[in-house]
Symmetry: C2
Subunit: 246 residues, 2 copies
Protein backbone atom coordinates (compact mmCIF):
# COMPACT_ATOMS: atom_id res chain seq x y z
CA UNK A 1 0.00 0.00 0.00
CA UNK A 2 1.06 3.58 -0.54
CA UNK A 3 -0.01 6.77 1.19
CA UNK A 4 1.26 9.77 -0.70
CA UNK A 5 0.62 13.46 -0.18
CA UNK A 6 1.14 16.23 -2.70
CA UNK A 7 1.21 19.79 -1.43
CA UNK A 8 -0.11 21.23 -4.69
CA UNK A 9 -1.91 19.65 -7.63
CA UNK A 10 0.65 21.21 -10.01
CA UNK A 11 2.82 18.59 -11.57
CA UNK A 12 0.46 15.72 -10.79
CA UNK A 13 0.97 13.20 -13.58
CA UNK A 14 -1.79 10.79 -14.65
CA UNK A 15 0.37 7.95 -13.24
CA UNK A 16 0.22 9.56 -9.77
CA UNK A 17 -3.56 9.45 -9.85
CA UNK A 18 -4.70 6.55 -11.99
CA UNK A 19 -6.69 3.98 -10.10
CA UNK A 20 -5.97 5.49 -6.72
CA UNK A 21 -8.39 6.71 -4.11
CA UNK A 22 -7.81 10.44 -3.86
CA UNK A 23 -8.77 12.83 -1.07
CA UNK A 24 -8.73 16.51 -2.02
CA UNK A 25 -8.22 19.10 0.71
CA UNK A 26 -8.81 22.83 0.46
CA UNK A 27 -9.82 23.44 4.03
CA UNK A 28 -9.91 27.24 3.60
CA UNK A 29 -12.50 27.03 2.19
CA UNK A 30 -13.62 25.00 -0.81
CA UNK A 31 -13.77 21.47 0.61
CA UNK A 32 -15.21 22.76 3.89
CA UNK A 33 -17.89 24.58 1.90
CA UNK A 34 -18.65 21.42 -0.09
CA UNK A 35 -19.15 19.48 3.13
CA UNK A 36 -21.41 22.23 4.48
CA UNK A 37 -23.45 22.36 1.31
CA UNK A 38 -24.04 18.62 1.09
CA UNK A 39 -24.68 18.35 4.83
CA UNK A 40 -27.39 20.98 4.44
CA UNK A 41 -29.15 19.18 1.65
CA UNK A 42 -27.60 20.48 -1.56
CA UNK A 43 -28.15 17.94 -4.34
CA UNK A 44 -24.71 18.35 -5.85
CA UNK A 45 -21.74 20.65 -6.22
CA UNK A 46 -20.24 20.92 -9.69
CA UNK A 47 -16.65 22.19 -9.60
CA UNK A 48 -15.58 24.15 -12.67
CA UNK A 49 -12.34 25.87 -13.59
CA UNK A 50 -13.47 29.43 -14.21
CA UNK A 51 -16.29 31.85 -13.60
CA UNK A 52 -16.97 31.97 -17.35
CA UNK A 53 -17.37 28.20 -17.38
CA UNK A 54 -19.68 28.42 -14.38
CA UNK A 55 -21.95 30.90 -16.15
CA UNK A 56 -21.87 28.90 -19.38
CA UNK A 57 -22.71 25.66 -17.61
CA UNK A 58 -25.57 27.33 -15.74
CA UNK A 59 -27.00 28.52 -19.04
CA UNK A 60 -26.62 25.06 -20.57
CA UNK A 61 -28.36 23.34 -17.69
CA UNK A 62 -30.91 26.11 -17.54
CA UNK A 63 -32.53 24.94 -14.32
CA UNK A 64 -33.91 27.27 -11.68
CA UNK A 65 -32.45 24.99 -9.00
CA UNK A 66 -28.95 26.23 -9.70
CA UNK A 67 -26.77 28.42 -7.53
CA UNK A 68 -23.49 29.94 -8.63
CA UNK A 69 -20.77 29.97 -5.99
CA UNK A 70 -17.23 31.18 -6.24
CA UNK A 71 -14.49 33.53 -5.15
CA UNK A 72 -11.39 35.08 -6.51
CA UNK A 73 -8.88 36.23 -3.89
CA UNK A 74 -11.37 35.40 -1.13
CA UNK A 75 -14.14 37.66 -2.48
CA UNK A 76 -17.41 36.54 -4.04
CA UNK A 77 -17.46 36.74 -7.84
CA UNK A 78 -19.77 39.56 -8.98
CA UNK A 79 -23.16 38.23 -10.10
CA UNK A 80 -22.77 34.96 -8.20
CA UNK A 81 -25.27 34.15 -5.45
CA UNK A 82 -22.67 32.63 -3.13
CA UNK A 83 -19.01 33.04 -2.34
CA UNK A 84 -16.87 30.30 -0.92
CA UNK A 85 -17.91 30.48 2.70
CA UNK A 86 -19.21 27.37 4.45
CA UNK A 87 -21.39 29.70 6.54
CA UNK A 88 -23.33 30.69 3.43
CA UNK A 89 -24.25 27.07 2.75
CA UNK A 90 -27.30 27.11 5.03
CA UNK A 91 -30.16 24.67 4.79
CA UNK A 92 -32.45 27.48 3.71
CA UNK A 93 -30.17 28.51 0.87
CA UNK A 94 -28.92 25.23 -0.54
CA UNK A 95 -31.41 22.44 0.18
CA UNK A 96 -32.43 20.75 -3.05
CA UNK A 97 -30.19 23.00 -5.12
CA UNK A 98 -27.24 22.21 -7.34
CA UNK A 99 -24.27 24.50 -6.82
CA UNK A 100 -21.83 25.32 -9.59
CA UNK A 101 -18.62 26.25 -7.78
CA UNK A 102 -15.36 27.80 -8.89
CA UNK A 103 -12.60 28.82 -6.50
CA UNK A 104 -8.98 29.91 -6.79
CA UNK A 105 -7.40 26.63 -5.76
CA UNK A 106 -9.89 24.07 -4.51
CA UNK A 107 -11.90 23.30 -7.58
CA UNK A 108 -8.70 23.21 -9.65
CA UNK A 109 -7.36 20.54 -7.34
CA UNK A 110 -10.51 18.47 -7.82
CA UNK A 111 -10.29 18.81 -11.57
CA UNK A 112 -6.67 17.56 -11.47
CA UNK A 113 -7.76 14.13 -10.25
CA UNK A 114 -9.06 12.80 -13.54
CA UNK A 115 -8.47 9.09 -13.84
CA UNK A 116 -8.55 8.37 -10.11
CA UNK A 117 -10.36 5.30 -8.85
CA UNK A 118 -12.42 7.46 -6.49
CA UNK A 119 -12.24 11.09 -5.41
CA UNK A 120 -13.45 12.50 -2.10
CA UNK A 121 -13.30 15.95 -0.51
CA UNK A 122 -11.86 16.23 2.98
CA UNK A 123 -11.53 18.88 5.67
CA UNK A 124 -11.75 19.16 9.45
CA UNK A 125 -15.50 19.32 8.90
CA UNK A 126 -15.63 15.68 7.86
CA UNK A 127 -12.37 14.30 9.23
CA UNK A 128 -13.85 11.31 11.05
CA UNK A 129 -15.95 10.24 8.08
CA UNK A 130 -13.12 10.77 5.60
CA UNK A 131 -10.73 9.06 8.00
CA UNK A 132 -12.88 5.92 8.08
CA UNK A 133 -12.96 5.87 4.29
CA UNK A 134 -9.20 6.43 4.11
CA UNK A 135 -8.43 3.72 6.64
CA UNK A 136 -10.59 1.35 4.66
CA UNK A 137 -8.51 2.06 1.55
CA UNK A 138 -5.28 1.16 3.31
CA UNK A 139 -6.77 -1.88 5.02
CA UNK A 140 -7.72 -3.22 1.63
CA UNK A 141 -4.05 -2.74 0.61
CA UNK A 142 -4.97 -0.09 -1.93
CA UNK A 143 -3.06 3.09 -2.67
CA UNK A 144 -4.30 6.46 -1.56
CA UNK A 145 -3.26 9.98 -2.43
CA UNK A 146 -4.04 13.19 -0.58
CA UNK A 147 -4.02 16.23 -2.85
CA UNK A 148 -3.66 19.56 -1.08
CA UNK A 149 -5.07 22.42 -3.09
CA UNK A 150 -2.26 24.66 -1.87
CA UNK A 151 -2.17 28.28 -2.84
CA UNK A 152 -1.41 29.42 -6.35
CA UNK A 153 0.83 26.43 -6.89
CA UNK A 154 2.63 26.75 -3.56
CA UNK A 155 2.61 24.87 -0.27
CA UNK A 156 -0.03 25.96 2.19
CA UNK A 157 0.16 25.15 5.88
CA UNK A 158 -3.57 24.78 6.45
CA UNK A 159 -4.01 22.08 3.82
CA UNK A 160 -0.74 20.34 4.75
CA UNK A 161 -1.75 20.10 8.41
CA UNK A 162 -5.16 18.75 7.39
CA UNK A 163 -3.42 16.21 5.14
CA UNK A 164 -1.40 15.10 8.15
CA UNK A 165 -4.56 14.68 10.23
CA UNK A 166 -6.17 12.60 7.50
CA UNK A 167 -3.00 10.51 7.18
CA UNK A 168 -3.04 9.86 10.95
CA UNK A 169 -6.65 8.73 10.68
CA UNK A 170 -5.88 6.55 7.66
CA UNK A 171 -2.94 4.84 9.38
CA UNK A 172 -4.95 4.20 12.54
CA UNK A 173 -1.91 3.90 14.77
CA UNK A 174 0.25 1.94 12.35
CA UNK A 175 3.68 3.36 11.68
CA UNK A 176 4.81 2.12 8.31
CA UNK A 177 8.44 2.87 7.55
CA UNK A 178 7.87 2.54 3.84
CA UNK A 179 5.00 3.41 1.60
CA UNK A 180 4.85 7.08 2.56
CA UNK A 181 6.34 9.77 0.38
CA UNK A 182 8.35 12.66 1.80
CA UNK A 183 5.37 15.01 1.81
CA UNK A 184 3.35 12.48 3.83
CA UNK A 185 6.16 12.28 6.39
CA UNK A 186 6.31 16.07 6.61
CA UNK A 187 2.52 16.31 6.97
CA UNK A 188 2.66 13.86 9.87
CA UNK A 189 5.40 16.02 11.41
CA UNK A 190 3.05 19.01 11.25
CA UNK A 191 0.50 17.09 13.31
CA UNK A 192 3.18 16.39 15.91
CA UNK A 193 4.02 20.08 15.90
CA UNK A 194 0.51 21.54 16.12
CA UNK A 195 -1.27 18.77 17.98
CA UNK A 196 -5.01 18.34 17.84
CA UNK A 197 -6.22 21.93 17.78
CA UNK A 198 -7.25 22.90 14.28
CA UNK A 199 -7.53 26.64 14.67
CA UNK A 200 -3.85 27.36 15.26
CA UNK A 201 -2.37 25.99 12.03
CA UNK A 202 -5.28 27.45 10.07
CA UNK A 203 -4.81 30.89 11.59
CA UNK A 204 -1.02 30.70 11.11
CA UNK A 205 -1.30 29.93 7.44
CA UNK A 206 -1.15 32.72 4.93
CA UNK A 207 -4.65 31.84 3.70
CA UNK A 208 -5.98 32.02 7.24
CA UNK A 209 -4.28 35.30 8.02
CA UNK A 210 -5.63 36.79 4.83
CA UNK A 211 -9.18 35.62 5.52
CA UNK A 212 -9.02 37.05 9.04
CA UNK A 213 -7.69 40.34 7.69
CA UNK A 214 -10.57 40.49 5.21
CA UNK A 215 -13.16 39.92 7.93
CA UNK A 216 -13.68 36.19 7.42
CA UNK A 217 -12.52 35.06 10.85
CA UNK A 218 -15.82 33.21 11.41
CA UNK A 219 -15.03 31.17 8.30
CA UNK A 220 -11.66 30.16 9.71
CA UNK A 221 -13.32 29.22 12.99
CA UNK A 222 -15.96 27.24 11.14
CA UNK A 223 -13.33 25.44 9.05
CA UNK A 224 -11.61 24.47 12.32
CA UNK A 225 -14.69 22.74 13.74
CA UNK A 226 -13.96 19.02 13.81
CA UNK A 227 -16.73 16.97 12.22
CA UNK A 228 -18.97 20.00 11.82
CA UNK A 229 -20.39 18.61 8.56
CA UNK A 230 -19.91 14.86 8.79
CA UNK A 231 -20.53 13.86 5.19
CA UNK A 232 -18.29 12.39 2.51
CA UNK A 233 -18.42 14.41 -0.72
CA UNK A 234 -17.64 12.20 -3.69
CA UNK A 235 -16.62 13.49 -7.12
CA UNK A 236 -18.10 11.34 -9.82
CA UNK A 237 -19.03 12.21 -13.40
CA UNK A 238 -17.84 15.76 -12.70
CA UNK A 239 -20.37 16.20 -9.87
CA UNK A 240 -19.73 16.13 -6.14
CA UNK A 241 -22.51 14.36 -4.28
CA UNK A 242 -22.84 12.40 -1.07
CA UNK A 243 -20.85 9.18 -1.30
CA UNK A 244 -23.08 6.14 -1.39
CA UNK A 245 -23.14 4.37 1.98
CA UNK A 246 -20.44 1.67 2.13
CA UNK B 1 11.99 41.76 4.76
CA UNK B 2 10.68 38.46 3.50
CA UNK B 3 12.00 34.96 3.90
CA UNK B 4 10.18 32.60 1.60
CA UNK B 5 10.78 28.95 0.83
CA UNK B 6 9.52 27.02 -2.17
CA UNK B 7 9.64 23.25 -2.02
CA UNK B 8 10.03 22.87 -5.77
CA UNK B 9 11.09 25.31 -8.48
CA UNK B 10 7.97 24.41 -10.49
CA UNK B 11 5.56 27.28 -10.60
CA UNK B 12 8.15 29.90 -9.65
CA UNK B 13 7.04 33.09 -11.33
CA UNK B 14 9.51 35.83 -12.31
CA UNK B 15 7.90 38.03 -9.65
CA UNK B 16 8.88 35.50 -6.96
CA UNK B 17 12.51 35.76 -7.96
CA UNK B 18 13.18 39.21 -9.38
CA UNK B 19 15.69 41.18 -7.39
CA UNK B 20 15.79 38.70 -4.53
CA UNK B 21 18.74 36.89 -3.09
CA UNK B 22 18.11 33.24 -3.82
CA UNK B 23 19.65 30.17 -2.20
CA UNK B 24 19.22 26.94 -4.14
CA UNK B 25 19.32 23.64 -2.26
CA UNK B 26 19.69 20.18 -3.74
CA UNK B 27 21.55 18.59 -0.88
CA UNK B 28 21.37 15.09 -2.41
CA UNK B 29 23.53 15.81 -4.30
CA UNK B 30 23.95 18.67 -6.77
CA UNK B 31 24.58 21.62 -4.46
CA UNK B 32 26.76 19.50 -2.17
CA UNK B 33 28.79 18.43 -5.22
CA UNK B 34 29.13 22.06 -6.34
CA UNK B 35 30.51 23.01 -2.91
CA UNK B 36 32.93 20.06 -3.04
CA UNK B 37 34.09 20.96 -6.55
CA UNK B 38 34.75 24.61 -5.80
CA UNK B 39 36.32 23.80 -2.42
CA UNK B 40 38.73 21.51 -4.24
CA UNK B 41 39.81 24.11 -6.75
CA UNK B 42 37.44 23.76 -9.68
CA UNK B 43 37.35 27.03 -11.63
CA UNK B 44 33.62 26.94 -12.26
CA UNK B 45 30.57 24.74 -12.52
CA UNK B 46 28.23 25.44 -15.42
CA UNK B 47 24.74 24.05 -14.80
CA UNK B 48 22.84 23.04 -17.93
CA UNK B 49 19.41 21.56 -18.45
CA UNK B 50 20.19 18.36 -20.36
CA UNK B 51 22.99 15.98 -21.22
CA UNK B 52 22.68 16.99 -24.88
CA UNK B 53 23.21 20.61 -23.91
CA UNK B 54 26.21 19.63 -21.80
CA UNK B 55 27.84 17.87 -24.73
CA UNK B 56 27.02 20.72 -27.11
CA UNK B 57 28.41 23.33 -24.73
CA UNK B 58 31.59 21.30 -24.24
CA UNK B 59 32.07 21.17 -28.01
CA UNK B 60 31.46 24.93 -28.31
CA UNK B 61 33.94 25.80 -25.58
CA UNK B 62 36.35 23.20 -26.92
CA UNK B 63 38.75 23.43 -24.00
CA UNK B 64 40.68 20.51 -22.61
CA UNK B 65 40.03 21.84 -19.10
CA UNK B 66 36.43 20.70 -19.21
CA UNK B 67 34.78 17.89 -17.31
CA UNK B 68 31.27 16.64 -17.92
CA UNK B 69 29.33 15.73 -14.80
CA UNK B 70 25.79 14.51 -14.50
CA UNK B 71 23.36 11.85 -13.49
CA UNK B 72 19.97 10.63 -14.39
CA UNK B 73 18.15 8.67 -11.69
CA UNK B 74 21.28 8.73 -9.54
CA UNK B 75 23.52 7.09 -12.14
CA UNK B 76 26.34 8.75 -14.09
CA UNK B 77 25.41 9.67 -17.65
CA UNK B 78 27.23 7.40 -20.12
CA UNK B 79 30.28 9.12 -21.61
CA UNK B 80 30.51 11.68 -18.80
CA UNK B 81 33.66 11.76 -16.68
CA UNK B 82 31.79 12.42 -13.45
CA UNK B 83 28.45 11.65 -11.90
CA UNK B 84 26.84 13.76 -9.25
CA UNK B 85 28.76 12.57 -6.22
CA UNK B 86 30.61 15.08 -4.04
CA UNK B 87 33.15 12.32 -3.34
CA UNK B 88 34.18 12.36 -6.99
CA UNK B 89 35.06 16.06 -6.81
CA UNK B 90 38.57 15.47 -5.49
CA UNK B 91 41.37 17.98 -5.71
CA UNK B 92 43.19 15.71 -8.12
CA UNK B 93 40.23 15.47 -10.45
CA UNK B 94 38.77 18.97 -10.46
CA UNK B 95 41.49 21.53 -9.62
CA UNK B 96 41.73 24.13 -12.37
CA UNK B 97 38.92 22.50 -14.35
CA UNK B 98 35.54 23.77 -15.42
CA UNK B 99 32.70 21.33 -14.84
CA UNK B 100 29.61 21.26 -17.02
CA UNK B 101 26.94 19.72 -14.81
CA UNK B 102 23.45 18.44 -15.46
CA UNK B 103 21.36 16.64 -12.85
CA UNK B 104 17.76 15.54 -12.52
CA UNK B 105 16.62 18.30 -10.21
CA UNK B 106 19.43 20.50 -8.93
CA UNK B 107 20.62 22.21 -12.05
CA UNK B 108 17.02 22.76 -13.12
CA UNK B 109 16.41 24.59 -9.86
CA UNK B 110 19.40 26.83 -10.50
CA UNK B 111 18.21 27.61 -14.00
CA UNK B 112 14.79 28.61 -12.62
CA UNK B 113 16.28 31.59 -10.76
CA UNK B 114 16.75 33.88 -13.74
CA UNK B 115 16.26 37.49 -12.78
CA UNK B 116 17.31 37.07 -9.15
CA UNK B 117 19.51 39.70 -7.56
CA UNK B 118 22.01 37.04 -6.55
CA UNK B 119 21.97 33.24 -6.55
CA UNK B 120 23.92 30.97 -4.24
CA UNK B 121 24.06 27.20 -3.74
CA UNK B 122 23.55 25.87 -0.24
CA UNK B 123 23.81 22.53 1.54
CA UNK B 124 24.98 21.17 4.88
CA UNK B 125 28.45 21.32 3.38
CA UNK B 126 28.46 25.12 3.46
CA UNK B 127 25.72 25.89 5.96
CA UNK B 128 27.71 28.28 8.13
CA UNK B 129 29.03 30.26 5.18
CA UNK B 130 25.64 30.36 3.46
CA UNK B 131 24.02 31.21 6.78
CA UNK B 132 26.22 34.26 7.23
CA UNK B 133 25.34 35.43 3.72
CA UNK B 134 21.65 34.79 4.35
CA UNK B 135 21.64 36.61 7.67
CA UNK B 136 23.32 39.54 6.00
CA UNK B 137 20.49 39.69 3.44
CA UNK B 138 17.85 39.90 6.15
CA UNK B 139 19.84 42.37 8.24
CA UNK B 140 19.93 44.69 5.27
CA UNK B 141 16.13 44.37 5.11
CA UNK B 142 16.27 42.62 1.76
CA UNK B 143 14.11 39.73 0.63
CA UNK B 144 15.44 36.23 0.36
CA UNK B 145 14.09 33.09 -1.21
CA UNK B 146 15.18 29.50 -0.64
CA UNK B 147 14.47 27.26 -3.62
CA UNK B 148 14.45 23.55 -2.86
CA UNK B 149 15.19 21.46 -5.91
CA UNK B 150 12.69 18.85 -4.75
CA UNK B 151 12.22 15.68 -6.67
CA UNK B 152 10.55 15.58 -10.05
CA UNK B 153 8.37 18.51 -9.09
CA UNK B 154 7.47 17.16 -5.67
CA UNK B 155 8.40 18.01 -2.08
CA UNK B 156 11.54 16.34 -0.81
CA UNK B 157 12.32 16.02 2.88
CA UNK B 158 16.10 16.36 2.56
CA UNK B 159 15.94 19.72 0.81
CA UNK B 160 13.10 20.98 3.00
CA UNK B 161 15.01 20.18 6.20
CA UNK B 162 18.11 21.90 4.78
CA UNK B 163 15.95 24.92 3.91
CA UNK B 164 14.80 25.02 7.52
CA UNK B 165 18.38 24.93 8.75
CA UNK B 166 19.34 27.78 6.43
CA UNK B 167 16.29 29.75 7.55
CA UNK B 168 17.28 29.27 11.20
CA UNK B 169 20.76 30.57 10.37
CA UNK B 170 19.32 33.51 8.43
CA UNK B 171 17.00 34.50 11.25
CA UNK B 172 19.77 34.26 13.85
CA UNK B 173 17.41 33.78 16.76
CA UNK B 174 14.80 36.28 15.64
CA UNK B 175 11.25 34.96 15.48
CA UNK B 176 9.35 37.09 13.03
CA UNK B 177 5.63 36.48 13.04
CA UNK B 178 5.24 37.90 9.59
CA UNK B 179 7.43 37.86 6.54
CA UNK B 180 7.66 34.07 6.30
CA UNK B 181 5.56 32.09 3.88
CA UNK B 182 3.85 28.85 4.86
CA UNK B 183 6.65 26.70 3.43
CA UNK B 184 9.22 28.61 5.50
CA UNK B 185 7.15 27.94 8.63
CA UNK B 186 6.93 24.25 7.77
CA UNK B 187 10.67 24.06 7.07
CA UNK B 188 11.37 25.55 10.50
CA UNK B 189 9.04 22.93 11.98
CA UNK B 190 11.14 20.20 10.37
CA UNK B 191 14.21 21.54 12.17
CA UNK B 192 12.31 21.34 15.47
CA UNK B 193 11.36 17.80 14.58
CA UNK B 194 14.75 16.46 13.46
CA UNK B 195 17.04 18.63 15.53
CA UNK B 196 20.64 19.22 14.55
CA UNK B 197 21.64 15.84 13.15
CA UNK B 198 21.70 15.99 9.38
CA UNK B 199 21.92 12.31 8.57
CA UNK B 200 18.49 11.31 9.84
CA UNK B 201 16.29 13.52 7.65
CA UNK B 202 18.55 12.81 4.67
CA UNK B 203 18.35 9.06 5.18
CA UNK B 204 14.57 9.24 5.78
CA UNK B 205 13.94 11.06 2.53
CA UNK B 206 13.07 9.11 -0.56
CA UNK B 207 16.15 10.46 -2.33
CA UNK B 208 18.34 9.30 0.55
CA UNK B 209 16.75 5.88 0.73
CA UNK B 210 17.19 5.43 -3.00
CA UNK B 211 20.84 6.49 -2.90
CA UNK B 212 21.53 4.09 -0.04
CA UNK B 213 19.76 1.28 -1.90
CA UNK B 214 21.91 1.98 -4.98
CA UNK B 215 25.13 1.81 -2.97
CA UNK B 216 25.65 5.55 -2.47
CA UNK B 217 25.44 5.59 1.31
CA UNK B 218 28.86 7.32 1.53
CA UNK B 219 27.38 10.16 -0.54
CA UNK B 220 24.52 10.57 1.91
CA UNK B 221 27.00 10.56 4.79
CA UNK B 222 29.16 13.12 3.01
CA UNK B 223 26.16 15.35 2.27
CA UNK B 224 25.35 15.25 6.01
CA UNK B 225 28.77 16.60 7.04
CA UNK B 226 28.23 20.10 8.38
CA UNK B 227 30.58 22.65 6.82
CA UNK B 228 32.52 19.95 4.98
CA UNK B 229 33.12 22.29 2.02
CA UNK B 230 32.85 25.80 3.46
CA UNK B 231 32.57 27.83 0.28
CA UNK B 232 29.78 29.92 -1.19
CA UNK B 233 29.01 28.95 -4.78
CA UNK B 234 27.58 31.90 -6.68
CA UNK B 235 25.66 31.63 -9.95
CA UNK B 236 26.49 34.55 -12.19
CA UNK B 237 26.46 34.79 -15.98
CA UNK B 238 25.37 31.15 -16.09
CA UNK B 239 28.50 29.99 -14.25
CA UNK B 240 28.83 28.95 -10.63
CA UNK B 241 32.07 30.20 -9.10
CA UNK B 242 33.26 31.13 -5.65
CA UNK B 243 31.39 34.18 -4.42
CA UNK B 244 33.65 37.21 -4.18
CA UNK B 245 34.61 37.90 -0.57
CA UNK B 246 32.19 40.35 1.02
Amino acid sequence: MRLDVVFTPQGLAPADVTGRTVFVIDILRATTAMCAALAHGAKAVIPVGSSEEAVRLAQTIGSTDLLLAGERNCVRIPGFQLGNSPLEMTDETVRGRTIIMTTTNGTKAMLATQGAGAVYAAAAANLSVAGVAARDVLERQRDMLIVCAGRDGAFSLDDAYAAGRLAVAALGGRKPRRGLNDAALAALDLVRRYGDAWFRPLAYSRAGRELIRLGFRPDVEDAARLDAYPVLPNLHDRRVTLAPAA
